[in-house]
């Protein structure tokens, strides 16, 4: 989604904010409803009295949550949250025109995101080996859906970050216009923030 950068410089916007940034905020607002719905579905399924009544749902969630590897996920959560710091440093570096440092910190974000995703892949395969698939029970369905949906966001974020690194070699973001770094940063921080909610609700409670 690139638009005419010159047009924006020539005609200041009504609010003074970059239109691309306003669009990103609107998109992230929409994303809150995506994740909000998924989290609510998960919580509703956890407390699904209909299933218990019919003899299905009881203890499914307790048993499922018992399978979670809290130590591993706490570590990958720490790594993911730390990546937000690297993201902040990357943007700061681009703003200071230290392009190389900016690229370095972006690659740190990519690496940390990859570690997080790797942990998730390991967790998913371990679960499948233990016999928990999306179709096993309501916990499996809710867990794979919510965590997988978030994981897909992290994966898209990594691709986007790599694209930003690539375009930094093509001469973008060298001047005052660091919007590309800022956009992916907004997205990345949002995805991190959502993980805080998911980690708390699935792994801790």
């Amino acid at each position: 989604m690139t638009v005419d950068a010159h047009a924006h410089e020539e005609h200041p916007t009504s609010t003074g904010l970059d239109s691309r940034k306003v669009a990103m905020w609107a998109f992230l607002g929409s994303e809150t409803m995506f994740f909000g719905s998924l989290i609510l579905v998960m919580l509703i399924n956890k407390h699904n009295t209909l299933g218990v009544m019919l003899g299905h749902g009881d203890h499914t969630f307790e048993a499922g949550q018992g399978m979670l590897d809290l130590v591993l996920t706490s570590f990958t959560t720490f790594v993911l949250l730390t990546s937000s710091l690297a993201m902040v440093l990357a943007l700061a570096a681009f703003r200071n025109r230290s392009i190389n440092w900016g690229r370095f910190w972006l690659m740190v974000v990519v690496a940390f995101g990859a570690i997080f995703l790797g942990g998730q892949v390991y967790e998913f395969t371990a679960f499948v080996r233990e016999g928990l698939t999306p179709s096993t029970n309501l916990f499996g369905a809710s867990f794979y859906m919510l965590v997988g949906f978030h994981g897909a966001h992290v994966a898209i974020g990594i691709l986007w970050l790599l694209a930003v690194v690539y375009y930094s070699y093509r001469g973008r973001y060298q001047g005052a216009d660091t919007w590309g770094v800022e956009m992916v940063g907004l997205y990345w921080h949002f995805v991190d923030l959502v993980w805080v909610a998911i980690f708390t609700l699935i792994y801790l409670i």
Binding site: T2, S14, S19, A26, S30, L50, L138, G140, A141
Partner: protein, 612 residues
């Protein structure tokens, strides 16, 4: 062609088919939206006429029961997602940049993408008719009717993927218009001076970006149930069918406000023009629109009163539902007060706008009655509900949208729609509409369930049903008259000039159709009705006239050199890739690969394309 033309007609729409496929001009995209949504409107209307034919007499067997179920499902889905929403989007495209003094929307290529995704999604949804049967579970797709056990063809998959695709289109378009309205207003065009249609577009945009994700998640869960064997909505696996109802209506109720608010915006701009006075209570009308949207997120279980959620939930949602009537009533009183004391001229747009108010009041009143759980329990799933929703969405939305079509057709095309035939259209539609849906109130109270294929001769429903069918076909006739009128007017209609109605908002300050760049010079706005102020002075607000002219028009013969965004073929390719990928999930995996490839390559092409 009109030989008496005095004004020079801008070549806004000139060019080859390729120029239309690659266009990023909001006015051309508006034309595409108008044509496509009216075509789908005709398709949905034809489905309705078949439904009414089958129900015209008791125990008829003109339409097979399975086909009948497909018809009512596709009628609802088509009208909501393929006709009314995109018709509103056509007005957003045509009017928002003109009304706020912008040269285009914030993201022109994204705007083109929204249109192509909508077109391909609509075609995709309707392919189901020839690919093993259309969806037949009703437009709100209640579980477990959508479960593989009860729907083992791909009909539900077409429906679910189709709505996902259309959701992408709606969310992208809404983000675009939200940003355009927030960020692209001309100097002086404060929020407090925006035309009411722009206000309602902004509110509708927020409704869409917050409501559509919920149905998206619902559909993702449904597709997981169907493709991966999960049991989100299947009680056999511990899931809960009622969860679908919650997810659907958390989206579905805001959706009805998504359908009505743009029409309310249109009416709020048509009424002042033909009453020769400004909108009464401008701020209250704007804020009550926002209030409707806000409360609209907290009323969804009034669609579920008979589920058995308990007296506390039913009471709470009954109260919130009735509360929606307050801002809605406020709007109606403001419209009536706008008429009050005005010098009213009953041109065709005005007739439709007044028809909107009258019919919408009737639909609103039955809505309040349905908000009461005991009443709702009595008439749940009967024709009373069908009558109510058509009074709101036809009597409301469609009357409002036709007011807009007659009002802005001259602005879009440079030609007037024939006034006499317009009035015939209005009266025929008014009579047909009330004949079609008025009796359905009585049928519902008598207990006739919706969605039944036929009914017994001893039920005493014959006369009402026959009336309803006659009314429906009268509506069809009125639409035929409109179509002929539109085609004839396009060819040989009277030249409208820039300002045929003596309008007050910015779009009337430029030629019809508007030049490609809309405004030769970006206007400076200092009034809610800047063009009235320019023409008649500030009398209506008591303000001084000494201000500089509010709007600049392109009177110059030589074209000003204004750089507009280049056309692009990437949006149509990205949209095609998206829909072909969806085909891959239904037909054959090879489409998945082809679609993903097209999507990926076009996305890179899009990013690589030099902007502007």
């Amino acid at each position: 062609m009109a030989t008496t033309t005095v004004s020079v007609r801008p070549n806004t729409y000139a060019g080859t088919a390729w120029s239309w496929i690659t266009t990023v001009d909001h006015k051309r995209i508006a034309v595409l939206y108008f044509v496509t949504s009216l075509a789908f409107f005709a398709l949905g209307g034809a489905e309705a006429l078949l439904i009414r034919l089958q129900l015209s007499r008791p125990e008829l067997d003109l339409v097979h029961p399975d086909r009948f179920a497909e018809l009512f499902t596709m009628h609802g889905t088509t009208m909501v997602f393929l006709a009314l929403m995109p018709l509103s989007a056509a007005f957003f495209n045509l009017l928002v940049p003109l009304m706020i003094g912008a040269r285009d929307v914030a993201f022109p290529r994204l705007n083109a993408l929204s249109y192509w995704v909508y077109l391909f999604g609509g075609i995709f949804l309707n392919i189901s008719f020839i690919a093993g049967g259309a969806p037949a579970m009703g437009w709100f797709g209640y579980a477990p009717l959508t479960a593989t056990e009860f729907a083992d063809t791909h009909a539900v998959d077409f429906w679910a993927f189709g709505l996902q695709i259309l959701g992408v289109s709606s969310i992208l378009a809404s983000i675009n218009f939200i940003v355009t309205i927030i960020n692209m207003r001309a100097p002086g065009m404060t929020f407090n001076r925006m035309p009411m249609f722009v206000w309602m577009t902004l509110i509708t945009g927020f409704l869409i970006i917050f409501a559509f994700p919920v149905i998206t998640i619902g559909l993702v869960l449904l597709l997981f149930d169907r493709y991966l064997g999960t049991s989100f909505f299947l009680y056999q696996g511990g899931g809960d069918p009622v969860l679908w109802q919650h997810l659907f209506w958390v989206f579905g109720h805001p959706e009805v406000y998504i359908l009505i608010l743009p029409a309310m915006g249109i009416v709020s701009d048509v009424l002042p023009t033909f009453s020769r006075k400004p909108l009464f209570g401008y701020a209250v009308v704007a804020y009550s629109g926002a209030a409707i949207a806000l409360v609209g997120f907290g009323v969804w279980t009034h669609h579920m009163f008979t589920v058995g959620l308990g007296p506390v939930a039913d009471t709470a949602f009954a109260i919130s539902t009735m509360a929606v009537a307050v801002p809605t009533g406020v709007k109606i009183f403001n419209w009536i007060a706008t008429l009050w004391g005005g010098s009213i001229s009953l041109r065709t747009p005005m007739l439709f706008a007044i028809g909107f108010i009258a019919m919408f009041i009737l639909g609103g009143l039955t809505g309040v009655s349905l908000g009461s759980p005991p009443v709702d329990t009595q008439v749940q799933d009967t024709y009373y509900v069908v009558a109510h929703l058509h009074y709101v969405l036809f009597g409301g939305t469609i009357f409002g949208l036709f007011a807009g079509i007659y009002f802005w057709f001259p602005k879009m095309t440079g030609r007037m729609l024939n006034e006499g035939w317009g009035k015939v259209h209005f009266w025929l539609m008014m009579i047909g509409f009330n004949l079609a849906f008025g009796p359905q109130h009585q049928l519902g109270i008598d207990g006739m369930p919706r969605r039944i294929h036929t009914y017994g001769a001893d039920m005493g429903w014959d006369a009402w049903n026959l009336m309803s069918t006659v009314g429906a076909w009268l509506i069809g006739l009125s639409m035929l008259i409109f179509a002929i009128n539109a085609i004839r007017s396009l060819r040989s209609g009277r030249d409208s000039g820039p300002d045929p109605w003596d309008g007050g908002t910015l779009e009337w300050s430029m030629s019809s159709p508007p030049p490609v760049y809309n405004f030769a010079e970006v206007p400076v706005v200092d009034d809610r009705y800047p063009v009235w102020k320019e023409k008649h002075g500030g009398g209506h607000t008591g303000a001084a006239v000494a201000e500089p002219p509010a709007a600049e028009t392109a009177h110059d013969d030589d074209e000003p050199h204004i750089h507009m965004p280049n056309p692009s073929y990437w949006p149509v390719l990205v949209a095609a890739g998206m829909v072909i990928t969806a085909c891959g999930l239904i037909f054959h995996q090879v489409f998945l690969l082809i679609g993903a490839l097209i999507f990926g390559i076009s996305l890179i092409g899009w990013i690589e394309e030099p902007p502007g």
